[in-house]
Amino acid sequence: MSTNLHTTELENKASEKNNRRLFMKKMVALFGATTAAAVVSGCSVPVAKKFTVQRPNPPQNGTLFSEHEMTVLYSLCETILPKTDTPSAVEVGCHEFVPHQLQHCHSKQQQDDCVQIINTVDMRANKNFGKTFPLLNPQQQQQLLADFESTSMSTDVEKGQFKFLKALIAFGYFTSEVGATQALNYQAVPGGFKGSIPANSDTKSWGSQAYY
């Protein structure tokens, strides 16, 4: 048991290091080196003492999310729809799609809900693991979100906010070219309608819709 535990700890440390390295890489890609360093060093992420939504560094330039919130959103996208045999939500740009879509096609309330839920999830990460959400390892991220939507860790309002954000990420993913044509089966010109074709548990859903 102890050996196993030891191994696991080591693995965790290794994966955490990798995770951190990967995270840095992504942050640099997103915001440039200086900001990324500031985010990762923790100076822009004070540990939340209470479960009230705080915005450590509210955005200045009219954008919906602060740079830190963007890093959390980025990790949420990666965790909710990860890379499998098809690209991840991040690879198709869902982290950029979400703020764009919120600002152009959604209500102020929905925008505020998303800002809140991103900060709420991050505070849970800080409380449970002592780290900002993006710095958790993938297992921790997945577990935290699974618990968040299923247990008393979150309120009903928070669950609703999370559900909305998750669905928006899914909308961004499955209306992207990759999502619609690779993750799903896209029929641009079906050639006619057949009322019955064989299907099984592996059959992909149509990615082409009359209305979205």
């Binding site: 909710i80 299923s150 669905a167 899914a170 619609a180 309608f193 057949k194 074709i197 009359a210 979205y212």
Partner: protein
């Protein structure tokens, strides 16, 4: 199509002016042109060329910055009403009217959602393509139960004209032999899915008198020589019709009637020409033509003809007539009866239900069927009415398998969640009521006493609400939908009734503002859509309806229009007009 098809100014006295270029106007123009008559089609909006101007056709959602959703600011500014239409999106918004430029008012405490499509082709580009004949029960309904006035026509009067338009337009459907929904001239029907066939069998077994049939749509499932000659080919089941269809697979002015009219060499089109009013000659008691305000530069001009056909939509045609005030007609031309603008109706689409069809996991469908199933009205005569209200309703609906759009809200994080969203979910089936609305004098449109639009035309003011009859009907329809789905074995059945919040107008089946009738004292038009008061003025769009029935009205717009043209042409030849 040649460019000299389009005119700007003209002193010519045409044989016929057709105001409007939608489903009705397209048919009127084609029929006049094919009878060798010089015809001017007047359209208030811009030209939309078949194929060339279908700018979003074939584009996937990723090609749109907001993934087919319309920007909030744009919606607020220009599309506050149009956005309520199911077909309104970033892919189709260029074919919808601009609410900012096209204001109208509604009586305080009431609402009416007026969906508009002011361009060449009008709503024929955007319509839902459902095509059903009215039956003798529909034409007799007002007389039978005393609501509204008696239609001056019966099914026999229209039967051959239905056939005429159906063969040309191309209507897919199945022979059913139902007395409440006469069969059309059909192209093959679209297929049902297995769950639909299953539900059909269960409902027909357990509810004698109710039928579940394939919807009848103006789609070329198997084009005839006549359709190929129009330049139209087989429907590809994209169901993206409202973007425009270069296959010409659904009937529209652009795909069908306009090329036929243009081919005769007798057609001219005046686009960007907003008809302000009709020019009336007190001496001859005839209309001479129309006054037009230019859509773009607001300059004015006139066009002249021997006869005028108003095909400008139910509200549009009545607006033009109400705005034509003359010495003989101080309250609007041909309005000696005082009913012009009154008896406005729509269909009531405010109740329904959906549920899960168990089983059929090893089946899917292929293609996007442009339409669904139909349960025809089963309360189509007084002996079948419910105790507490009159008339009836049908249902439209269909089945589908749940996908990411339905399941994105479900619990799940990571690879499993992603996999679930890419796979097939449960089979679902829904039914949505299509209820008849009674003709009532109190439901009306009038001209606003003070406000005008940018063309100087008085705004339309609408006061139209659901009556108790429609409320009771929707409550019953909700129950009926639940009962049928439940007895068909569906689970997780959920229902809705939105009659308290859903405004009239949104079924986009507005009819009845210049109704036909035997008696000039209580109707505007005779049985040939000719004004009782003005012999060379015809109204052949939905304004002429005496009752709404439950069927989608467009096919009847077509049939009454071609019948009216035939009558008018003969009257002109006999020099009675």
């Amino acid at each position: 199509m040649t460019t000299d098809l389009y005119i700007h100014k003209s002193d010519q006295v045409y044989d016929a002016i057709v105001v409007g270029s939608g489903i009705t106007g397209g048919w009127a123009a084609k029929e006049f042109c094919e009878r060798g008559m010089q015809t001017l089609m007047i359209e208030r909006g811009r030209v939309v060329e078949h194929r060339k101007d279908y700018i979003t056709e074939g584009k996937g959602p990723w090609k749109f910055e907001n993934r087919t959703k319309v920007d909030n600011l744009l919606t607020e500014e220009k599309y506050a009403v149009q956005k309520k239409c199911y077909a309104f999106s970033d892919m189709t918004k260029h074919f919808f009217g601009n609410d900012k430029d096209l204001p109208y008012s509604t009586e305080e405490g009431t609402g009416f959602d007026w969906i508009r499509a002011n361009q060449l082709g009008g709503k024929s580009l955007l319509w839902h393509r459902q095509s059903y004949r009215l039956s003798d029960f529909d034409f007799a309904a007002n007389k039978a139960d005393g609501h509204g006035n008696d239609w001056p026509i019966r099914y026999n009067d229209l039967e051959s004209w239905y056939s005429h338009v159906e063969k040309f337009a191309g209507i897919s459907g199945s022979e059913e032999g139902l007395e409440q929904l006469p069969d059309s001239e059909y192209l093959p029907p679209f297929e049902m899915t297995s769950p639909e066939l299953h539900v059909k069998q269960k409902i027909e077994e357990q509810f004698p008198g109710r039928h579940l049939i394939m919807g009848r749509t103006a789609h070329l499932t198997k084009p005839t020589q006549m359709h190929l000659e129009q330049g139209r080919v087989t429907c590809q089941a994209r169901s993206e019709c409202q973007k425009g269809c270069s296959f010409g697979a659904y009937f529209s002015t652009q795909s069908s009637t306009l090329p036929a009219a243009a081919k005769t060499g007798n057609l001219s089109i005046a686009p960007n020409s907003v008809v302000h009013s009709l020019i009336y000659d007190e001496k001859t008691q005839r209309v001479k033509g129309v006054r037009v305000v230019d859509n773009d530069d607001l300059s004015t001009r006139e066009y002249f003809a021997k006869v005028v056909f108003l095909c400008a939509s139910t509200l549009g045609s009545a607006q033009i007539m109400l705005n034509t005030k003359t010495k003989s007609f101080p309250n609007g031309i041909a309005n000696s009866s005082g009913v012009l603008g009154h008896y406005l109706m729509d269909h009531n689409y405010n109740a329904g239900a959906s549920g899960t069809v168990e089983g059929f996991e090893d089946e899917y469908f292929s293609g996007r069927r442009p339409g669904g199933i139909l349960i025809p009205n089963f309360q189509y005569k007084p002996s079948l009415y419910k105790k507490d209200y009159v008339r009836g309703y049908g249902f439209s609906g269909g089945s589908y398998r749940e996908n990411w759009q339905n399941n994105a809200h479900q619990k799940g994080i990571g690879a499993d969640y992603k996999a679930t969203l890419t796979k097939l979910g449960k089979w679902k089936m829904n039914l949505g009521a299509q209820g008849e609305m009674l003709p009532r004098f109190d439901n009306y449109m009038a001209l606003h006493p003070t406000k005008t639009d940018k063309w100087g035309i008085p705004l339309i003011h609408i006061d139209c609400t659901w009556s108790e009859n429609e409320r009771l009907m929707m409550a019953d329809a909700e129950q009926a939908a639940v009962e049928m789905l439940t007895k068909a074995g569906l689970t997780e059945v959920e229902s809705y009734n939105s009659v308290d919040t859903g405004n009239p107008g949104l079924a986009i089946h507005e009819v009845g503002t210049a109704r036909m009738g035997h008696d000039p004292k209580e109707s505007v038009l005779n049985g040939f859509n000719q004004c009782h008061d003005v012999a060379n003025l015809f109204v052949t769009d939905g304004a002429s309806f005496c009752s709404s029935a439950v069927q989608n009205p467009s096919l009847t717009f077509m049939a009454i229009t071609v019948r009216a043209v035939d009558y008018c042409a003969k009257e002109m030849k006999a020099q009675r007009i």
